[in-house]
C-alpha cells in the first residue's frame, strides 16, 4: 500500500520520560521498522517531572507517517506525540557552527557574507573563523553552500528543534 503516494517531510515532537534507554527505544523503532530519520534532537526540558523532548524530522508516505506516530505513541515511556507539520503553524530552528579557513579576499568575503546572514563569529585565528548561525534548515544550507568555495572545512549542526506557534502546549 505504501509507496503509491508522495513522500512528505514531517517534524514530530515527542515528550518522553527521561529514563535510561528511552532514546534507544525511539531510534530502534526507526531502524527496526525501516523509517527515515533526517534529524533528531533530544534534551531534558522539565527537570522536575523528568521529561525530555525529542524532535524528529522524518519522511515517508502519509501512511508511513501515520504509522510512525502510532508506533511512537505506543512506546511505554512516551507522554505525547505531536505532528507539528500536520498541525500547521510552528517555528523550526537549527543551530550550526561552521569553520572556514582562508586568507586575503576569500577571508574578507566570508566575513561579509556572515554579516549578511547574521552569523556571529565565535572564534577566530589569523587563518580561520568559526561562525555560529541559527535559522531554518534552508537558511543554514544556503550559508554553508556559500562558504564551500571560501574555505569551509568543518560543520557541526544541532538538527531541528521546533515548537508550535500560539498558546497551546505539547
Amino acid at each position: 500500500m505504501s509507496g503509491t503516494s508522495a513522500i512528505e517531510k514531517h517534524t514530530i515532537a515527542v515528550l518522553v520520560d527521561n529514563e535510561p534507554g528511552v532514546l534507544a527505544r525511539v531510534i530502534g523503532l526507526f531502524s527496526g521498522r525501516g523509517y527515515n530519520i533526517e534529524s533528531l534532537t533530544v534534551a531534558e526540558v522539565d527537570r522536575k517531572r523528568g521529561l525530555s523532548r525529542i524532535t524528529v524530522v522524518t519522511s515517508g508516505t502519509p501512511m508511513i507517517i501515520e504509522q510512525i506516530k502510532a508506533q511512537l505513541g505506543r512506546l511505554v515511556p512516551v507522554h505525547a506525540v505531536r505532528d507539528l507539520t500536520q498541525e500547521g503553524a510552528h517555528v523550526e530552528r537549527e543551530l550550526a557552527l561552521i569553520k572556514v579557513t582562508s586568507t586575503g579576499d576569500r577571508r574578507i568575503e566570508s566575513l561579509r557574507l556572515a554579516d549578511i546572514f547574521r552569523a556571529r563569529v565565535v572564534d577566530s585565528t589569523i587563518e580561520s573563523f568559526v561562525f555560529e548561525m541559527t535559522g531554518s534548515t534552508e537558511k543554514l544550507n544556503a550559508f554553508i553552500n556559500l562558504m564551500e568555495p571560501l574555505g569551509l572545512i568543518d560543520v557541526s549542526r544541532t538538527g531541528v528543534v521546533a515548537i508550535s506557534r500560539g498558546s497551546s502546549r505539547l
Binding site: 534507554g21 504509522q67 505513541g73 505506543r74 511505554v76
Partner: protein, 587 residues
C-alpha cells in the same frame, strides 16, 4: 507507619504473590541464586524447572493463553536471557502477556564483560513490549508491578525485568501493587461514539458482509468472544477467524466459514475477496491473511476494531478504524444496533449466503484418503472425532501439521488452541502444552507436532515427566520438514534441499527413554487404537503417526497471489503456472 525494608529477592517473591501469580517457569543460575533461595523458603509460588529457557517462555505463553493470566518466567543472566529471546519474540508477535525476570551481573560490573553478562535490556528492547533494568532496590517492587500492568494492559505482550545480583541482596522498601500507578501508559479502551454509530450504519447497510475476527478477541477475554458471537448472530452475517482467533466463534456453527488466509478455506477467502463490508475485530491484516495486498478485498469498505492504533492502516487502508477494547467496542455496537432496531437486508443477505454455500460446495478440505498409508488429514480427523467430547486443549508446533490441525480440529470455545502464529516458532508446542497442563491439570492436552519441530524442544519430555504432566505429543511423521518440502516442490522445482531428515530417532524408544509411553501407528487401521490408548494412559505419551511423505497442505494461496487465486489441490498447480517473481521473494 514506615514499611519494613526487605531484601530485593524477597521483594521479587512478594511482588509475584501480590500479583496473583501461582506458578513460575524457570531455570536457575548464578545471577538469580538469591531469588531461588527466597523461593526455597516459601510455599506460595510453585516453580516448574524447565530444561531450556526458551521452553520456559513458551510454557508461560501456554499458561497465559489458556488462562487469560500473565505467564511468569525466571531465568539467569547471559545465556539464560539470550535463550529466552525467541520465546519473548514469539509472545510479542502473538500479543501474549508474559513477565520475564532475568538475572543480571551486579551493577558495578555491568558493561565490564563480566561472566555470564549480556546487555539484556539492549537485546530484548525490540522483542518486548517494554523492559526494565532495576538499579535501586527501592524501585524494584514498583517496576515489578508496572511490568505486570504493562504486560496485560492494552495490547498484551512480554515485559522483561532485569535484576542485577547486588539489588537482590540489597534492602529496599516494598510498595504494594495498589499504590503503583503508571506515569504514562493508558491505552484507549473505549471507542469513539461517533465511530460506533458510523460502524452500525455500515453494518446495517451491507449487502455482502463478512466478520473477520482475530486473536484480539481472545486476548480481550471471554466476554469479547461472547459479544462477538452475539453480534454475528444478531446480524446473521458470515464469519471467519484468523489462526490466532480460532475458538472465538464456535467452529460448528453454520455462520462460521472456517479459518481464512494462506491455508484457509475457499469459502472464507472468497467471502473476504468479494465482500462489500469487512468487519475486522482484533486482527491485524497479517500477510498470511491478505495475500497480495493490491488485490486484497478490492470492493469492500473496511471497519477495523483494534486496541493498538499502530495496527490500523499498517498494511491495509481501512475506512473506519475504532480504537478500543474488543469487548467494550462490541458492547457499544450491539447496544446501538438494538437501539436503532436495525435489520439486515434479507434479500441481499440471502443471495450472499447462496453464493457462499456454492463456494462451500467445493468442499475445499477434501483429500484423497487411502487404506494403505495414513494421510495426515485422516489422522487429525480421527483425533478430532475421538476427543471432541472432552475438555481438550491443543497446542501445535509449526508447519504443515499446524495448518492441518487448524483446518481439521474444530474449536468451540476460546483459549483451547495455542499456536505460534506471528513468529512461526518450531519447538513451541511441547513447552506450551506443558504450561497449559500446569494450568489445567485435569484436561486433555495434546501437542500436534511434526517430527522436525518436536526435536527442537524434545528435552522438555524430562520436565513433563518430573511434574507428572500427562501431555500427549501427537507427531505426524513424514520425515520431511513438510512445509519447506511443499514450498520446494511448488517454487523450487522439487529440489528438496536439506528438508529431509535422514536420521530420525525411534520416537517410541525415545518416549520410553524419558520414562513416558511411546506408541506408533503405521497403517490407517491403527490410528483409532493409538489415539484411544494415548487418551487412556495417565502419563506423558509420544504418538508417532507415520504419514504420507508427499502430502501437501491445501487449499493454498501461493505467495504473491490474491484470495481468488487459491489452489484447491495438487491438480490445480500445473494449470496455474509458476509463481511470479514478486511472489517468490515473499516468505
Amino acid at each position: 507507619m514506615s514499611a519494613a525494608a526487605m531484601p530485593g529477592a524477597e521483594m521479587v517473591i512478594k511482588a509475584l504473590v501480590d500479583q496473583g501469580v501461582d506458578v513460575v517457569f524457570g531455570y536457575p543460575g548464578g545471577a538469580v541464586l538469591p531469588i531461588y533461595d527466597a523461593l526455597f523458603k516459601q510455599n506460595q509460588l510453585r516453580h516448574i524447572l524447565v530444561r531450556h529457557e526458551q521452553a520456559a517462555v513458551h510454557a508461560a505463553e501456554g499458561y497465559a493463553r489458556s488462562t487469560g493470566k500473565v505467564g511468569v518466567v525466571l531465568v539467569t543472566s547471559g545465556p539464560g536471557a539470550t535463550n529466552a529471546v525467541t520465546g519473548l519474540t514469539d509472545a510479542l508477535m502473538d500479543s501474549i502477556p508474559v513477565v520475564c525476570l532475568t538475572g543480571q551481573v551486579p551493577t558495578h560490573l555491568i558493561g565490564n564483560d563480566a561472566f555470564q553478562e549480556a546487555d539484556t535490556t539492549g537485546i530484548t528492547r525490540p522483542c518486548t513490549k517494554h523492559n526494565y533494568l532495576v538499579k535501586d532496590a527501592n524501585d524494584l517492587s514498583r517496576m515489578m508491578h508496572e511490568a505486570f500492568y504493562v504486560a496485560r494492559t492494552g495490547r498484551p505482550g512480554p515485559v522483561v525485568v532485569d535484576l542485577p545480583k547486588d539489588i537482590l541482596f540489597a534492602s529496599g522498601i516494598y510498595t504494594p501493587p495498589a499504590s503503583v500507578k503508571h506515569k504514562t501508559y493508558r491505552p484507549q479502551t473505549t471507542p469513539d461514539p461517533a465511530k460506533v454509530a458510523a460502524a452500525v450504519e455500515l453494518i446495517g447497510n451491507a449487502k455482502r458482509p463478512v466478520f473477520y475476527g482475530g486473536g484480539g478477541l481472545i486476548n480481550s477475554g471471554d466476554r469479547a468472544c461472547a459479544l462477538f458471537q452475539e453480534l454475528v448472530r444478531l446480524t446473521g452475517y458470515p464469519v471467519t477467524l484468523t489462526l490466532m482467533g480460532l475458538g472465538a466463534y464456535p467452529a460448528s456453527d453454520r455462520q462460521f466459514l472456517g479459518m481464512l488466509g494462506m491455508h484457509g478455506t475457499y469459502e472464507a477467502n472468497l467471502a473476504m475477496h468479494d465482500c462489500d463490508l469487512m468487519v475486522n475485530v482484533g486482527a491485524r491484516f497479517d500477510d498470511r491473511v491478505t495475500g497480495r495486498l493490491n488485490a486484497f478485498s478490492p470492493g469492500s469498505k473496511k471497519i477495523h476494531v483494534d486496541i493498538d492504533p499502530s495496527s490500523v492502516n499498517k498494511n491495509v487502508s481501512v475506512d473506519l478504524p475504532l480504537i478500543g477494547d474488543a469487548a467494550e467496542t462490541l458492547a457499544e455496537i450491539i447496544k446501538a444496533w438494538k437501539a436503532r432496531r436495525l435489520k439486515p437486508d434479507a434479500k441481499a443477505l440471502g443471495a450472499w449466503w447462496k453464493q457462499i454455500d456454492a463456494w462451500r460446495g467445493r468442499d475445499c478440505l477434501r483429500y484423497q484418503n487411502s487404506d494403505r498409508i495414513i494421510k495426515p488429514q485422516y489422522a487429525l480427523e480421527r483425533l478430532y472425532a475421538l476427543t471432541r467430547d472432552r475438555d481438550l486443549y491443543v497446542t501445535t508446533e509449526v508447519g504443515q501439521h499446524q495448518m492441518w490441525a487448524a483446518q481439521f480440529l474444530k474449536f468451540e470455545a476460546p483459549r483451547h488452541w495455542m499456536t505460534s502464529g506471528g513468529l512461526g516458532t518450531m519447538g513451541y508446542g511441547l513447552p506450551a502444552a506443558m504450561g497449559v497442563q500446569v494450568a489445567h491439570p485435569e484436561a486433555l492436552v495434546i501437542d500436534v507436532a511434526g517430527e522436525a519441530s518436536i526435536l527442537m524442544n524434545i528435552q522438555e519430555m524430562s520436565t513433563v515427566m518430573q511434574y507428572r504432566l500427562p501431555v500427549k505429543v501427537f507427531i505426524l511423521n513424514n520425515q520431511y520438514m513438510g512445509m519447506v518440502r511443499q514450498w520446494q516442490e511448488l517454487l523450487h522445482g522439487g529440489r528438496y534441499s536439506e528438508s529431509y531428515t535422514a536420521s530420525l530417532p525411534d520416537f517410541v524408544k525415545l518416549a520410553e527413554a524419558f520414562g513416558a509411553v511411546g506408541l506408533r501407528a503405521s497403517r490407517p487401521d491403527e490410528v483409532d487404537r493409538v489415539i484411544k490408548e494415548m487418551i487412556k494412559v495417565d502419563k506423558p505419551v509420544i504418538v508417532d503417526v507415520v504419514v504420507d511423505q508427499t502430502e501437501n497442505c491445501f487449499p493454498m494461496i501461493p505467495s504473491g497471489a490474491a484470495h481468488n487465486e487459491m489452489l484447491l489441490g495438487p491438480q490445480d498447480k500445473q494449470s496455474e503456472g509458476p509463481v511470479s517473481e514478486e511472489g517468490m521473494v515473499l516468505v
